[in-house]
Amino acid sequence: MFGFGGVLPWARRMVVEQKRWLSPAEFTDLLGLCQFLPGGNVMNVTIAVGARFRGAAGSVAAFAGLMAAPVACVIGLGVIYDRYSQAPTVRHAFAGLAAAASALVLANALRVAGPLRARPIGLTVAVATCLAIAVLRLPLALVLVGMTALSTVLAWRRADE
């Protein structure tokens, strides 16, 4: 519920510093796994921490705890949006908000791509993936499997040399 602008720092503070359920190294390791798997990182961390301590029931409880309040809150906003979205001022306000939300994703993209500047091959793969999705509009599953295979082979050949 406190997760304005991302839950992860809060989750870390709670799990590692306050409750001491995991050591910092264990948390980093678990986060590495969760970033590797598909799905929201925070959601995966929640499932993994829950599973670690109470098995399936722990995962379900942790997931419900993570999601219940934010889901209720966002549905509340959705109700307000559905009711007032026709009013011109509200529409304009939303255009402004949406433009800034796009900027949030742009900033996120630049941050993720930042470390690739030193790796020309990685950067080329990233740009090709972006073009395949955003310009050519190829299906995600195809692009994901094809580019990951290509990119992994390139990483393997480089490691081999």
Binding site: M1, F4, L30, G32, L33, C34, F36, L37, P38, G39, G40, M43, N44, I47, A48, A51, A56, F63, L66, M67, P70, V71, V74, I75, L77, G78, Y81, D82, H92, A93, A95, G96, L97, A98, A99, A100, A101, S102, L104, V105, L106, N108, A109, L110, R111, V112, G122, V125, C130, A132, A134, R137, L140, V143, T148, A149, S151, T152, A155, W156
Partner: protein, 177 residues
């Protein structure tokens, strides 16, 4: 399409997205937009952008746009269908994977796949940004908001919510027109 059918297809679409969401929900935004706007006509492109913005402004994990789309299409049953649809498969995989993780954490192939996956997920988030910006830039005003806000997010420690609020006020004052 009847109500039950709509809810079932919402759940199926989002369950498929769940297993493709390497690097988080932001990397499947273009596919999500294609499915809900172009394929199923559940929302318009503008509504998609507005719902995404709304979810960003709300507290909680940034996958909540999924809940909002479900709510918009079929109220509470729809919201539950999309939320559990997007969370279920990836969570089940995570649950299973935590068990075997320690065995492979130093395996060479795992590091290679991880190294291979990193640029691809970066490209997917870049594509999400491109498509969102294309939808939300409806004039010079909104374009300027995106550029300035991105610079603020990247180079200052301002709270993101503050920037989102400022953009909303600027929008209400009629800047994007």
């Amino acid at each position: 399409m009847n109500e039950g059918g709509a809810i079932a297809s919402l759940a199926v679409v989002f369950a498929q997205l769940s297993l493709l969401a390497f690097g988080g929900t932001n990397s499947v935004l273009p596919e999500m937009q294609r499915q809900v706007v172009t394929v199923h006509h559940w929302v318009s492109a503008q509504e998609f952008a507005a719902l995404f913005a709304l979810a960003q402004a709300a507290p909680g994990p940034n996958m909540l746009v999924v809940t909002l789309i479900g709510w918009h299409v079929a109220a509470l049953p729809g919201a539950l269908a999309t939320t559990l649809g997007v969370a279920g498969p990836s969570s089940a995989l995570t649950f299973v994977a935590t068990g075997v993780w320690y065995r492979f954490r130093n395996a060479g192939w795992r590091k290679l796949v991880q190294a291979g996956l990193a640029p691809v997920t970066a490209g997917l988030v870049m594509a999400s940004a491109v498509l969102l910006i294309r939808t939300t830039t409806i004039g010079w005003g909104t374009g300027a908001i995106t550029v300035v806000a991105a610079l603020l997010f990247l180079f200052t420690r301002l709270h993101p919510l503050l920037v989102l609020a400022a953009a909303t006020v600027l929008g209400a004052l009629g800047l994007p027109a």
